[in-house]
């Protein structure tokens, strides 16, 4: 089963082999409110851990989505262009943002596991 890890900035990465699917957590989408626009990177772009990977805009404001680990963008979720509200409806599923080829698996260790992240959210 694929493992999901989380950043303190509320991005998740679901790891399948050397590719990770990146999106924002359910907590993040609920904090943002209705998502009306998503800007995705180009496929092939090299992202450094913590750099801006995408932009998500609610009615109120724009927010950056950061790369939870370093790597190359191998796929983006073009469906979000026409249906940005998918981020609210199914953040962990159809509302994913991009897939990244993980450069250094050791970077995953700095991220939180499911239980640890849920505990972290409770402190916010």
């Amino acid at each position: 089963m694929a493992e999901t890890r989380y950043s303190k900035d509320h991005e998740y990465i679901r790891i399948e082999g050397d590719v990770g699917t990146v999106g924002i957590s359910d907590y993040a989408q609920s904090q943002l409110g209705d998502v009306v626009f998503v800007e995705l990177p180009t496929v092939g772009k090299a992202l450094a851990k913590g750099s801006e990977a995408a932009v998500v805009e609610s009615v109120k404001a724009a927010s950056e989505v950061y790369a939870p680990v370093s790597g190359e963008v191998v796929e983006v979720n073009g469906e979000l262009e026409a249906a940005p509200g998918t981020v609210n409806e199914d953040p962990a599923g159809k509302g994913w943002f991009l897939k990244i080829r993980i450069k250094d698996a050791a970077e995953l260790d700095a991220l939180m596991g499911e239980a640890e992240y849920q505990d972290y959210v409770k402190t916010l």
Binding site: D9, H10, E11, I24, A28, L32, G33, D34, V36, F37, E39, V55, V56, E57, S58, V59, K60, A61, A62, S63, E64, V65, Y66, E81, P84
Partner: protein
């Protein structure tokens, strides 16, 4: 993920609460600091749903944070002339029961605040004008006004009043059910009536572009009016988030963003709010500049902008010509739920202000094509 700083929510340490605060919390609202108050930005259904509900049915807004005050003098003429020394609207000829939009101006003709001015319909209240000013400005407005009043006109703050707005095509029917007199009111008129048995001042106006009402009542009683209106299946509570997207689509200015001390009413396109007599006679702060601008025009003007793609352009976004020359800046911008797309307003150099002009909005370093659009973006639904 990190949200950009929102200047509106940089609030005070101990925020004030409106008389409806506990109700917002009980309804599950997300509360944010706004103009020193702890205010509902949205209820659980979210901004898009609240926005659309207001356009289709009726939205109920708590606007009790706004400043309500009375100017009280011996007769209408005296009180009106005292206010005319501060604002460019014709107040002397404001008929009983009528309401007018105006601006408090500084000596340079810059806008200190915008406000609604209402003359009571009741002959017993002749000499009183009811003012509603912005929450964020009220503590500066009141001393500004008081310092400039003649000795026989006083400013009386209505601190113990609440204010709610009922907006949308279903507003008239919803209010008429508990205040039958409201149904026959004209746009921008005001009268005193019983609402759900409670004495209230009702105005037919608002800040959404829709037909609607603003209802002022004692702080101790406004909750009963709120509760009674929410019993109507067509009425839902609406937060500040949708209030902002509604007024943006309606092309209405937000003080501190689209207008401020650096903008004149003429640059802002508020010429319609300065009546003929005042244009000719002057006698208000900054009159020389405003009269000159009315004749000669201004170097920059407020315009509507319609981005061609889906990306919203937020406040502060630079506006450039297709050749790359920066000719303006966005002052309000976001996503218009009724438009189902982004919209914005801002100031551009006069030469680039004609509707249909192609420009670029510089969003995250990239030029996004946009076109100058006429406002409102969504037609007004006012009852004329």
């Amino acid at each position: 993920m990190a949200a950009e700083a929102n200047t509106d929510t940089a609030g005070a340490v101990a925020p004030l609460k409106t008389p409806l605060h506990a109700r917002h919390v009980a309804l599950g609202a997300r509360m944010v600091p706004f103009a020193g108050y702890d205010m509902p930005v949205q209820y659980p259904t979210g901004i898009l749903t609240e926005h659309n509900w207001t356009r289709e049915k009726a939205g109920l807004f708590d606007v009790s944070h706004m400043g309500q005050a009375f100017l009280v003098g011996p007769d209408h003429e005296t009180t009106a002339r005292a206010l005319e020394a501060l604002v460019p609207a014709d107040i002397v000829n404001l008929a009983p029961g009528k309401q007018r939009y105006s601006q408090l101006l500084n000596e340079e003709g810059g806008i200190l605040d915008d406000l609604m001015v209402t003359r009571s319909i009741d002959p017993d209240e002749d000499g009183a004008l009811y003012l509603v000013v912005n929450a964020a400005c009220k503590e500066a407005d009141y001393p500004h006004i008081e310092a400039r009043l003649p000795s026989n006109v006083k400013l009386v703050r209505a601190e113990h009043r609440g204010l709610v707005a009922l907006q949308g095509p279903g507003a008239a029917a919803a209010l008429a059910a508990i205040a039958p007199e409201a149904a026959e009111m004209g746009f921008m008129t005001s009268r005193t009536m019983k609402v759900a048995g409670i004495k209230a001042n009702v105005s037919r106006a608002g800040y959404t572009g829709e037909d609607g009402f603003e209802i002022s009542a004692a702080a101790s009683k406004i909750g009963e009016i709120w509760d009674t209106l929410l019993l109507d299946g067509n009425v839902k509570p609406i937060g500040l988030g949708a209030r902002d997207s509604l007024r943006l689509e309606a092309g209405l200015c937000l003080y501190g963003h689209d207008i401020d001390t650096t903008t004149s009413p003429i640059e802002a396109g508020l010429n319609w709010s300065i009546q003929k007599r005042r244009r000719e006679e002057g006698g208000f702060p900054g009159a020389a500049r405003i009269q000159r601008e009315l004749t000669e025009g201004t170097a920059r003007v407020r315009v509507g902008l319609k981005p061609e793609g889906r990306a919203p352009a937020r406040e502060g976004t630079e506006i450039a010509t297709p050749e790359g020359e920066v000719i303006g800046v966005v002052t309000s911008g976001g996503f218009g739920p009724t438009l189902n797309g982004p919209c914005a307003m801002g100031y551009v150099a006069k030469a680039h202000s004609a509707p249909g002009t192609q420009l670029n909005l510089i969003v995250r370093g990239k030029p996004l094509p946009a076109v100058i659009a006429t406002m409102p973006f969504v037609p007004h639904g006012y009852k004329r």
